[in-house]
Each structure stands twice: as C-alpha cells, then as structure tokens.
Symmetry: C2
Subunit: 190 residues, 2 copies
Amino acid sequence: MSSSVGTPWKQLLLCSIQANSRLNHSSYLQLATVSANDRPSNRTVVFRGFMDDTDKILIHSDIRTRKIDDLKHSPFAEICWYFSDTWEQFRISGRVEVIDGTNTDPSKLEQRASSWFASSLKSRLQYTSPAPGIPLSSQQPLLDDRAGPAPAFCLLVFDPHEVDYLNLKSSKRVMFSSGSNIWTSEEVSP
Amino acid sequence: MSSSVGTPWKQLLLCSIQANSRLNHSSYLQLATVSANDRPSNRTVVFRGFMDDTDKILIHSDIRTRKIDDLKHSPFAEICWYFSDTWEQFRISGRVEVIDGTNTDPSKLEQRASSWFASSLKSRLQYTSPAPGIPLSSQQPLLDDRAGPAPAFCLLVFDPHEVDYLNLKSSKRVMFSSGSNIWTSEEVSP
C-alpha cells in the first residue's frame, strides 16, 4: 500500500519540496492532533523525509511533549503543509505510530537510531534538556555525539490515508484517497 | 475579558505581524478543529484582524466547507501561526463562533456585512462559486460589487483562552492563560 513510485500525491509533494527548497521553512508543517479532552492541538514540526521507499512521513519528537499524550489518546492526525513560494497546500490525514526506546521491534528501534544520528547535534541536544513546557531551571544539558538516542527522543511515522491538494495559483484542487491498496484521485472545485 | 490593551500576547502578536509584513503569507495561519468522527482537521486560513478593540481573531469562511461542520460538532479550535522571518510560533487555543446569514443578532449580522465589504471582489467571488470540494462543473459565478454577503459567507470569531508563544531564535517560550477576566503568563522551557 505504501509503495512510493505509484503514489501520485507523493510525486506532487516532492516537486513542491524541490520548488520551495530555497526557503528554510519549506520543511515546516503543521500537525494537528486531538487531546484527551477532545480538543484540537496544533503545532509546527519538521519534515524528516519519507520512511525508506514508502509514502510514510517521518517526524522527530520529544516523548515529554503533549502531542505524544494526544497520539496515545488518538493516533489520528492531520498535516497542513503550506508552500509559500508556490502557493500550494497539502492537507494530509493519517495515522501516527510513535516509536520510542521501549519499542520491542528491533527494526523500528534501528529506524529510530538512524533518525537520531541523521539529525544535527543541536537538534539532539534538545532531547537532553529539561522537559518542554516546564518552568525554567538553570540545568545545563551535556551530550556525547557518539551516544545513541536520548530516552526522550521518539520517531513519529505518519501513514497518510487521504491527501487534499490545493494550488492557489491555478485554483486546482485534487483529492487523493487510499483504499484496498490503491490510491485514487479526483479533481474537485477549490 | 477581551479588552486588548492589557493583553500581553496580543501586543507580541501585533509586533510579529508587523515584523513579518513584507511576506504575503505572514497573514496565513493553520486552524485545527475536530471533526464529527473525532479526528483532527487542519487547514490554512487568512487572519482578518481583531474584532474591534478585543483580542478576538476574525477569519472568513464558506459555510459549505467541512470546518463549519467541525465547528458545529465542537466549537474548540487551535491556531498554529508560524512567522518565517522572525522564527516565532503562536499556538492559540480557543472557541469559535460562526456568524452566518441566519444569525438573529443584528450587531453580529452587521459585523458579518462589514467583513464582507472589507474583503476584495476576488475573495467575495469564491462564495458564489460551486461549493468547495465537489466535482468540477463549468458553472461561472457572477457578482455585483454592491451586493451584500453571499449566503455562503460566514465570519468566524475566534476567542482565545490560551496562547503558547515560542521564539526559535532566542529559545524563549511563554505560556499565556486566561481566567477570571485576567491573562497571566509564565516563561517555560522551550
């Protein structure tokens, strides 16, 4: 189901990423989840690529953030990714798997470690800092660059099941839906 | 409760809007809601200013879009607004009131009409187009620029109750909460 070559929206997304690559923020997207109190949460996260040759989207997170609580409550999420140079929006809804250090699948732990080493030292450092959202302390984190993933580091694997593409320049809107191992698409009014 | 002068996050937000104003997309924000199936929805909308001198945020929408169904199901929403020039993020959670043409409060209908006339002809035209998300037809909309709000036009009034501010340049994060007619703030770890 997740083979990438035959996924039409993935090709479109890769083109948008390429066309907007001069902008640092083009890899920033907004991830919405539902909290345990049934209210929506929304935050900016960084796109970390696709998992191998699938259409699953990789995101790094800190297990101490509220989004992990949200995802334990409900694994469903919606990405809103706006490309400001090309005026394109991708709304991608799907299901998120959280891979932390307690995962029992060796291949998933390997994927997590590989994501850890692929990120910058500065990025890694934040996972050894005091938990996000707590009152400030003067605690200073230290990090050995050969050390494996910090306990707080987790990998989010976002598995898309619907993509709503909108091009504001051409007023073109296409809905992509997955079902029975196949993606279908339909052009709709913007 | 919504008096603007004493609202510290509003001042911060106005500064960010000003500092990023060279970018057209700086008025674009992502609005997350919860759908009737309890899954999150997320889309880009345009900031249309504050309501009078309050801290309520105005957004225009089409009553035929899914977000209106979402808001009927649950009025709670969360804005994620990232400013790409200054590396600042505002996450604003609150409650949304939908003002459409069936509203029985004359002052709210007046606010809706005033928002309608404040928007461009091109913006207005989309509310007379075929409903968003339906298969394409060749129907062509027409619009008299003196005509009042199209039936599909509605005004969303977003009433914030919590603001999570993050500055990625300074690594400063401040949480603002409202309660008993007063806003309080606390600096927390990023």
